[in-house]
């Protein structure tokens, strides 16, 4: 059964159309004047666009960017090659080959170091589990960088030297969490010889 829908009633001003046009023009001219005569990004401008390649939105402080390996004060990686990160990694993009220090090195028998540390940034899903898993604060994602584009797959395989060369967003290669070397007064004294 057909249902009759009554036409909406219009007031005389609405039917005359011209006052309604004036109302519409008020809105559009308002936008036009605000956006034309105030700088983009200023308080009065309504334009939210960021002109991307020329201007970049600032990433938040906790943005998970490209990984970096943090350094000790002597410039060696903090990583002790415990394989926690590569175990935690759901994408299995971290490859570590651990190695022992020389026999006369004081760290020998105390900890290992990564001979090979490779991250396949194409496989990485940037979940941050590796950072959470690391007991030494050796791998971080606070570089503030996203992966730069490239047409070659090899460019996305980051080796140890590459990862160590990437600084944090503040430019530092270390981390704010101090490391307690054996022999330091802050060291809790838990090594293999129970010193």
């Amino acid at each position: 059964m057909a249902k009759l829908i009554p036409k909406p009633k219009m007031s005389a001003a609405e039917a005359a159309y011209v006052p309604e046009i004036a109302k519409g023009l008020r809105v559009t001219i308002g936008h036009f004047i605000r956006n034309t005569f105030s700088a983009r990004g200023s308080e009065r401008s309504d334009i939210e666009t960021i002109d991307y390649p020329l201007e970049k939105r600032e990433y938040p402080e906790r943005f998970r960017g490209v990984h970096r390996l943090t350094l000790r004060s002597d410039g060696s990686p903090r990583c002790v090659a415990c394989l926690c990160c590569s175990t935690a990694c759901p994408a299995q993009c971290i490859h570590i080959e651990p190695a022992e220090y020389d026999a006369n090195d004081p760290k020998h028998g105390y900890e290992r170091y990564p001979k090979v540390f490779v991250i396949d940034e194409l496989r990485c899903i940037f979940c941050g589990f590796c950072v959470e898993a690391c007991p030494c604060d050796a791998i971080r994602m606070d570089s503030g960088l996203h992966m730069p584009a490239s047409t070659r797959r090899e460019h996305f395989i980051f080796d140890k030297e590459m990862l160590m060369a990437i600084p944090a967003a503040d430019g530092s290669h270390q981390t704010r969490n101090p490391r307690h070397e054996p022999g330091d007064p802050t060291h809790p004294g838990l090594d293999r010889d129970h010193h």
Binding site: N35, R40, T49, D51
Partner: protein, 374 residues
């Protein structure tokens, strides 16, 4: 014809062609940039030239240039089943009338060559010419006659494309333009009676003699609204762009056009907008006349700031161009503020509201002119 007249004619032609060639890419730019500003976008800003290692984009002003280059290099597609000759004629027929209409528009007042560098006396003499290409005694009727042929271009373009959408678009264009031609002409009859002339330059003089309140928009406000609406419909711009209504007709009558031929349609539309804004300026906004500016300088509170004839003439031409630009701006504002009509609404608006109103305007103006004179 004397030498100075030939030289003046060539100069005026160069000026008019310059105005057209300047205004149509500017309109294309303004259309895009202005819509961006209205819709909180950034608009065209990428086309740039590199000068001395610095990228210069001029706020997108170079985009019309890039468009022109693109138009020239695009494939000139002609529908295989379409009519080749008519397909080529369509854009020409629709663009040439709009160019021709510029011929009678007065960009400035009379220019007296002997008095260029001194204050114009009350009774100037010597060689003189008006700042308009041709002063025809049919005046504004010539504009209607010429722009009326523009409908043929749109109809032909729709007919020769061998495309149902294009044909429907051509039909809509023809129906709409012929209908609004009637209102357009009748809405101005009141002005003719008031100004007592058909000559555009005399209309400007009439308004100039009566100062700001003598402008047509204050003497004939209804005629202004009717003529403005009619002229938007005549140039097939939003909200009257049914001939190219992309939601139902893809692109309407110029659907099968590409490259420079499409560019000509687009340019024709912009030039037509400029020409109607020129007409509006001339008939309703006092043309080249600036309030308080007289032939010998500014008059204010009985004091006179005397100016050279040349400077007064230049101010006049600039006044005309600025008024026209403001009207073009307003037309674009309307274009980006209103949604498109339905086709029956377009026809109803024309025949049931605007036509009776324009007849009423003629009646009332006639009575007023008879009783009180103009």
């Amino acid at each position: 014809m004397e030498t100075f007249q030939v030289a003046a004619l060539i100069g005026k032609l160069i000026f008019v062609v310059g105005v057209i060639l300047l205004f149509s890419p500017l309109m294309a730019w303004a259309d895009r940039k202005q819509s961006a500003m209205i819709q909180d976008r950034m608009g065209p800003n990428k086309a740039s030239v590199t000068l001395g290692g610095k990228k210069i984009s001029l706020g997108g002003l170079l985009h019309p240039l890039a468009d022109a280059v693109k138009f020239m290099w695009k494939e000139n597609f002609i529908p295989p089943e379409g009519d080749k000759l008519l397909h080529a004629l369509g854009p020409l027929i629709s663009i040439i009338p709009t160019f021709a209409a510029f011929g009678v528009i007065p960009f400035g007042g009379m220019i007296y060559l002997d008095h260029l560098f001194d204050v114009l006396p009350a009774a100037p003499g010597g060689p003189a010419f008006p700042f308009q290409v041709a002063s025809l005694n049919v005046g504004v009727l010539y504009v209607f006659a010429v722009t009326g042929t523009g409908v043929v271009g749109a109809a032909i373009a729709g007919y020769c494309s061998n495309n149902k959408y294009a044909l429907l678009g051509g039909l809509r264009a023809a129906g709409q333009m012929v209908s609004y031609e009637v209102t357009l002409g009748l809405s101005l009859v009141g002005c003719f009676m008031l100004y007592n002339t058909l000559l555009l330059e005399d209309m400007v003089q009439w308004q100039h003699d009566r100062g700001l309140l003598g402008w047509g928009i204050f003497r004939q406000p209804l005629a202004f609204i009717l003529f403005y609406v009619g002229s938007i419909a005549e140039t097939k711009r939003v909200p009257f762009d049914l001939p190219e209504g992309e939601s139902e007709l893809a692109a309407g009558y110029f659907m099968e056009y590409s490259g420079m031929k499409f560019g000509m349609f687009m340019m024709g539309e912009y030039v037509a907008t400029v020409v109607t804004c020129c007409l509006l300026t001339t008939i309703f906004f006092g043309g080249w006349s600036l309030p308080l500016l007289h032939a010998d300088g500014f008059h204010l509170f009985g004091a006179t700031l005397q100016l050279n004839h040349l400077i007064v003439s230049i101010i006049g031409v600039l006044t005309f161009l600025i008024k026209t630009s403001l009207l073009c701006w307003f037309t674009l504002m309307i274009r980006w503020s209103l949604p498109r009509f339905r086709y029956d609404q377009v026809m109803k608006l024309c025949w049931r509201y605007m036509l009776p109103l324009s007849l009423l305007n003629i009646l009332v103006t006639g009575i007023v002119v008879l009783l009180w004179g103009n």
